[in-house]
């Protein structure tokens, strides 16, 4: 009885996924509008509570098999997490900036440069730590059947992994970026758990390199093409005409769009690869969004914002979450008798660090 089938299409009449998004934008609209109002009149301080309200709604409308998710994070804890980080980061940043300024004024440019580089390295490291801790925080506040996720790890080791793998990814002309991205996904998720079960992530770069190469080659090919075209024009002794200028602008636009599409196709493949390689508690995840789905999401987001003269910005979080849930699937069996509460303390720093560096978690 307590074995839950997460298999696709097990019950007739249900959408063929264990995950289902049951939200309704008319239900979300009053939440979005009152959030905006309160954020404005509190000079932005309410944004922590606004985020908590938004997530509470989105989580509560996300069904996994027989039960909805629940977000238990609070605005207060997010504000406190943010303040703690600010109290550490702000004096350091202001102090270092003053020191760099003073060194420059005193003509010690080398020392100033060294200090600036040191500061950059620290920020680089902390971005990794922040990414880890934001993910840990989100899992520790996400409940299903009264059980939550979390991690025993503080993310300090992940910070180093993040640093050297990101640098290594950009060595060799950036060709190893897919490797560093999937490795880091595994590094993060293999330290996470839900209940007493650990996540298992074994993503590899299968199917990623050729897409990454296209992203990489579009600008290179474009530069060569433009150079060749210019050379041809010069050799034909054709002066710059209006038609040539128009063709140039058109070509630039084309290259830009090609680059965006290539990036999108890479990211679509990346998310399919990493999510499909992730599992927990007997459940294998699958992400089915293809490039055209991502394209529809992004064009829809842009269109919504334009048509509503910016009001649609309030709905981007909603749309992105709905997109993720609708394309997420799960297969396998979960034994509820065997799913026990997470043994790790739910930490209190919320997303302060990630917030300070303005980065996402997943």
């Amino acid at each position: 009885m307590n074995d839950m089938q997460g298999l696709a299409g097990e019950t007739r009449g249900e959408p063929d996924s264990a995950f289902r998004f049951e939200g309704d934008w008319r239900e979300f609209l009053p939440i979005a509008l009152t959030n905006l109002l309160l954020i404005v009149v509190t000079l932005g301080i309410y944004r922590f509570w606004a985020k908590a309200r938004e997530r509470r709604y989105l989580w509560s409308r996300t069904r996994f098999i027989d039960e909805t998710l629940e977000w238990t994070g609070t605005g207060k804890e997010m504000l406190i997490g943010f303040l703690i980080v600010i109290m550490v980061v702000a004096p350091l940043a202001v102090g270092a900036n003053l020191a760099i300024e003073a060194l420059f004024l005193r003509g010690q440019g080398d020392l100033a440069l060294l200090l600036g580089l040191g500061l950059y390295a620290i920020v680089f490291y902390m971005v990794g730590v922040a990414q880890f801790r934001a993910l840990r925080y989100r899992l520790s506040r996400t409940y299903w059947h009264g059980i939550r996720g979390g991690s025993a790890d503080g993310g300090w080791g992940y910070g180093w992994q993040f640093m050297w793998k990101t640098v290594a990814g950009f060595m060799v002309f950036g060709l190893l970026v897919p490797w560093s991205m999937t490795e880091l996904w595994n590094d993060r998720w293999n330290r996470m758990s839900f209940g007493q079960h650990e996540f298992r992530a074994g993503a590899d770069t299968h199917g990623l390199f050729h897409r990454w190469l296209i992203v990489y080659l579009v600008p290179v090919v474009a530069v060569i093409a433009v150079a060749a075209a210019t050379g041809a024009m010069i050799s034909l002794a054709a002066g710059p005409s209006e038609a040539a200028a128009a063709a140039f602008v058109f070509a630039l636009l084309f290259v830009y769009l090609a680059f965006l599409l290539a990036s999108l196709s890479y990211y679509a493949a990346y998310y399919r690869q990493v999510v499909n390689a992730t599992a927990v508690a007997g459940i294998d995840f699958e992400f089915r969004a293809r490039t055209k789905d991502w394209l529809k999401l992004i064009l829809g987001n842009i269109g919504l914002v334009i048509v509503t003269l910016g009001v649609g910005l309030l709905f981007l979080g909603y749309r992105n979450w709905a997109f993720a849930v609708r394309h997420l699937e799960a297969a396998g069996e979960i034994n509820l008798d065997d799913l026990l509460q997470s043994p790790f303390a739910a930490t209190g720093d919320a997303e302060g660090l990630a917030d300070a560096f303005d980065i996402g978690a997943i």
């Binding site: 009149v41 309410y46 940043a93 300024e101 059947h145 939550r148 008798d337 026990l340």
Partner: protein, 356 residues
């Protein structure tokens, strides 16, 4: 009795329950598979409303969730905790009053933010500011001009303008800027391009008196507090922090502060018996340069930090007293030494002075 379900926060298993709310102290929960549970009323909180079901939690057990089906629970639900919508405080006040309170609060914060530098500045001990200014300014990487007799002439001029000139550190700096600036800690710098534009010590006196007024009125301290405050604020909202030397130099004082410094400078010139007409003439000439070179001419940065309105020039001109026997601010030799303080610098042409 109301029917419902329970997660105990330990295991993921969902159990059917019945709840009885007649107890004075606690809610009684009977588990369908045997056993019962008494939960004190004050530990219960509302979590969410679902279709036909209200969900409650315990503040002392994370993940503990009790769902009560609305049907058949009409007697019990009014005893249960009320739902939260916007967050504790706003729920207690109501959305309307909370918005009004928020507006008042934001207005107050903005008002304090704007006025704080003005009333905080006099509270900052001069010794602190001096330390800060010294560490910031240092020796300008050796770009102070040291032509013979120049510094003495400059100090003599300052002495005529202010009785406290000895606390100031006034220097001529070799840099291609037509500007003068008052920096934290009583440092005043005059760039030699500005000096070269001046025809006499009297013309320079007005500019110097204006900068001295910024120091004595603590305008530099106000600007510093504003700068630091803005830096902290900017880093607080996650952006790039702080400032660089350029923004420090071009830190604008408020219109009121500029006007106050002009008033002080005019009074200073009157006391020192130096003609304000020279300053007005100097401003006229800089204004003509601006018209010629365009406002974008970065070398004329004095004009961007000290806008030369007709009103300002008129103020200096109008303060001149007809028939008064004004004295020249410096004698001819002193002015020559000051004017050529960078040109006569023994190190001129060395790499030291090629910073910019």
């Amino acid at each position: 009795m109301a029917r419902g379900w329970l997660y105990d926060g330990e295991s993921a298993v969902r159990r059917d329950v019945e709840a009885d709310g007649h107890g004075a102290e606690s809610l009684r929960i009977e588990l369908a598979d045997g056993g019962r549970l008494d939960v004190p009323w004050e530990l219960l909180c509302h979590v969410e409303s679902r279709k036909g079901c209200e969900v409650y939690g315990r503040t002392d057990v994370k993940g503990w969730r009790l769902g009560l089906f609305s049907e058949g629970a009409e007697g019990l639900l009014p005893r249960m905790p009320r739902r939260q919508r916007y967050g504790g405080l706003i729920d207690r006040m109501g959305l309307g009053p909370a918005v009004v309170a928020g507006l008042l609060f934001s207005g107050l914060i903005v008002f304090i933010g704007f006025t704080a530098p003005t009333w905080l500045a006099p509270l900052v001990p001069m010794s602190w500011e001096k330390k800060f200014g010294d560490s910031l300014v240092g020796e300008w990487g050796g770009r102070f001009c040291k032509g013979p007799g120049g510094q003495q002439a400059l100090e003599k001029l300052a002495g005529e303008l202010s009785p406290r000139a000895r606390d100031l550190d006034i220097r001529v700096v070799h840099a291609p800027l037509v500007n003068a600036a008052a920096l934290p800690g009583g440092h005043i710098v005059i760039f030699d391009e500005l000096l070269k534009q001046a025809d006499s010590a009297d013309e320079l006196a007005g500019v110097l008196a204006h900068e001295i007024a910024h120091v004595e009125r603590r305008h530099t301290t106000q600007a510093m507090i504003r700068e630091l405050g803005v830096g902290v604020f900017v880093s607080a909202i996650g952006g790039r922090t702080g400032s660089n030397a350029e923004t420090l130099l071009s830190a604008r004082y408020s219109r009121g502060a500029e006007s106050q410094a002009d008033g002080d400078a005019i009074e200073t010139l009157r006391r020192a018996n130096i003609s304000p007409l020279a300053t007005a003439g100097f401003f006229d000439r800089l204004g003509r340069d601006e018209a010629k070179l365009g406002q974008a001419a970065s070398a004329l940065s004095y004009l961007s930090t000290h806008p030369l309105s007709a009103e300002r020039r008129q103020r200096f001109r109008a303060s001149a007293e007809k028939g008064r026997a004004y004295q020249p601010a410096l004698n001819r030799d002193e002015w020559e030494a000051l004017f050529n303080i960078c040109f006569n610098d023994p190190r001129r042409g060395s790499d030291d002075l090629d910073f910019f």
